[in-house]
């Protein structure tokens, strides 16, 4: 792991300080990371999704301010992940806590650094992003998984500060998922035992992603059969659940994702090192790991982890048409400003707010202040939320389908579609 790192003239110039102190420090970080990762060269990158804009202590603010004052400016497209707070929240006009103040200041600094302030964990829902084969820099785990698998762009999982350093310099260590050899499937997930009817359900993809995350270990998994017409929301669900449950950074859906037109290509002509047979029992076990609460009154329904898409809004609106969210229950939907604005043009935001839903932008439901005050039972349609929330919030979680979440929000009590789960009970 100690091969020498070769640097281009461009990089050497940055390292020498010729291009200013910000790029010098950034290139020092990239160089150090390359050496730790055993890379012998750097690869130019064309897009960054910045996670360091998410407040995680005063040091985050100090770093951003230091870079800004040293002359840093993103020249390539650098889109922002969620902030810790919503800049649209009226409470944030005059932040009351150190954390809120810091979070707001941090977001403003990244705007000044030249980021495109999309404030979303699902940047792939916005037009103009990376394409197949592009080398990019991403930190948000669900986006790493989605961009690699569903788009076929190439990124490792970049930690905070390094995402900024790579984005500013335009280079990343050529290793891991940036390399051909590092991307091939190693382990096969056989879903032939699962009934076709279950594979039509939104819950299937969250459970499948969870199973993949729980059993893939360090191997790159491939799912044997995802339909060629499978939509982006399902790919988002698999990517996010697998990233949350097992840190999966890349996966293949044979017949659906761009590097896996067939099994042979996904596995680069090699046999899978291991095959895992997905059964109804494994999906049931995954379901149990996502639900810590028994049925009963629900304090909150949380949708949009990762951010709710345009098609998800399209699906939800008819479910709540002419109905109201139960007075004892809050319905939160987190999304990006871009998607919210598209949905608003169709009248969907008005319709949902009239029904009693609260739309949250710029951040995640499990960080908004209202959500943090929740003590009771929460229902969600997202495996990712169900996975993280008990640890982050100390709440009890029920995982269900979008339909079940909508019915539950109206009734105020956990509602189950008995037919949906029949095969998994």
């Amino acid at each position: 792991m100690n091969g020498n790192l070769t640097l281009s003239e461009d990089c050497t110039a940055m390292l020498s300080g010729e291009q200013g102190p910000a790029l010098q420090f950034a290139m020092q970080l990239v160089e150090r990371a390359a050496k730790v990762m055993g890379a012998t060269e750097l690869v130019p990158v064309t897009f960054a999704h910045i996670d360091a804009c998410f407040y995680a202590g005063r040091a985050h603010v100090d770093f951003a301010r230091f870079m800004l004052e040293a002359g840093a400016k993103f020249k390539l497209p650098a889109w922002t992940n969620n902030g810790l707070v919503s800049l649209a929240d009226e409470n944030i006009r005059d932040p009351k806590t150190e954390m809120a103040r810091g979070a707001k200041e941090l977001m403003q600094l990244y705007a000044e650094l030249g980021c495109r302030t999309v404030w979303t964990c699902a940047p792939y829902q916005l037009p103009g992003g990376p394409g197949f084969g592009d080398h990019i820099v991403v930190g948000e785990s669900n986006a790493v998984s989605f961009y690699n698998a569903a788009v076929g762009a190439r990124t490792n999982k970049y930690g905070d500060y390094l995402d900024v350093a790579c984005g500013l310099t335009g280079y990343a260590p050529l290793s891991g998922l940036h390399t051909d050899a590092g991307r091939r499937a190693q382990m096969l997930f056989d879903t032939s035992a699962i009934p076709g009817s279950l594979k039509q359900q939104d819950i299937y993809f969250h459970l499948l992603g969870t199973v993949m995350g729980q059993h893939a270990g360090k191997q790159i998994p491939a799912i044997d059969a995802l339909g060629p017409d499978l939509g982006e929301d399902a790919l988002k669900a698999v990517s996010a659940a697998a990233a949350a449950a097992g840190g999966v950074e890349h996966w293949h859906g044979i017949g659906r994702t761009p590097e896996a037109p067939d099994r042979e290509t996904a596995f680069a002509g090699q046999e899978p090192a291991k095959t895992f047979t997905v059964t109804l029992d494994t999906l049931s076990a995954a379901r149990r790991s996502l639900t810590s609460a028994s049925d009963g009154p629900v304090e909150m329904v949380a949708l949009g982890t990762p951010h709710f898409s345009f098609t998800e809004f399209a699906g939800l609106v008819p479910m709540l048409a002419g109905r109201k969210v139960h007075r004892g229950t809050k319905l939160y939907i987190s999304t990006s400003r871009h998607v919210r604005d598209l949905a608003a043009r169709n009248g969907w935001i008005d319709a949902l707010e009239t029904a009693g839903a609260t739309i949250i932008v710029d951040t995640c439901t499990y960080f908004s202040p209202a959500v943090r005050g929740c003590k009771g039972r929460v229902m969600t349609n997202a495996a990712k939320w169900a996975w993280y929330a008990p640890g982050q919030l100390g709440v009890e979680v029920c995982f269900g389908s979008l339909q079940e979440c909508a019915e539950t929000a109206v009734k105020g009590d956990v509602w189950r579609d008995k037919n949906l789960w029949r095969e998994l009970d």
Partner: protein
């Protein structure tokens, strides 16, 4: 006294009592930079304080938040004197590099494996040189 050569991820000199972790630690979520204390209920060393110790751990857990957790601890002075990992993590190195740049404080980060690493479990104190020599 035993001497080992570690792989240097972030250079510096340090000396102090060993805090051995049986399991990987998340620096963001599993550790509280305000106090320096491990706050992961599932961690065997839950409740112990990293401050002023040479932290010896198998690996980190989670990733994106690691650099922030490390640099925030160094900023607050609640962090370890040095970090020795069996499996090196670039994110820990990045946190240390940023903390040095911003605050002028150095927390060396080393990677050491095999028997050398295992023997640190029974070491009381350890000293580290910038070249990565570990003396237990």
């Amino acid at each position: 006294m035993a001497e080992f050569q570690a792989r240097v991820l972030f250079e510096g000199a340090a000396e102090g009592p060993v805090l051995w972790l049986d399991e990987p630690l998340s620096f963001w979520g599993g550790f509280d930079p305000a106090t320096g204390i491990i706050i992961d209920n599932n961690h065997p060393q839950n409740g112990l304080c990293l401050k002023g110790k040479v932290l010896v751990l198998p690996a980190t857990r989670g990733s994106g938040g690691t650099p922030g957790g490390v640099s925030e601890a160094i900023r607050l002075g609640t962090g370890p004197k040095a970090i020795i990992m069996a499996t090196g993590d670039a994110n820990v190195m990045i946190g240390a590099a940023v903390a040095k740049k911003l605050y002028g404080r150095i927390c060396p980060v080393l990677e050491l494996s095999g028997d050398a690493f295992a023997s640190l479990q029974h070491a009381e104190r350890v000293s580290i040189t910038p070249a990565g020599q570990v003396t237990a």
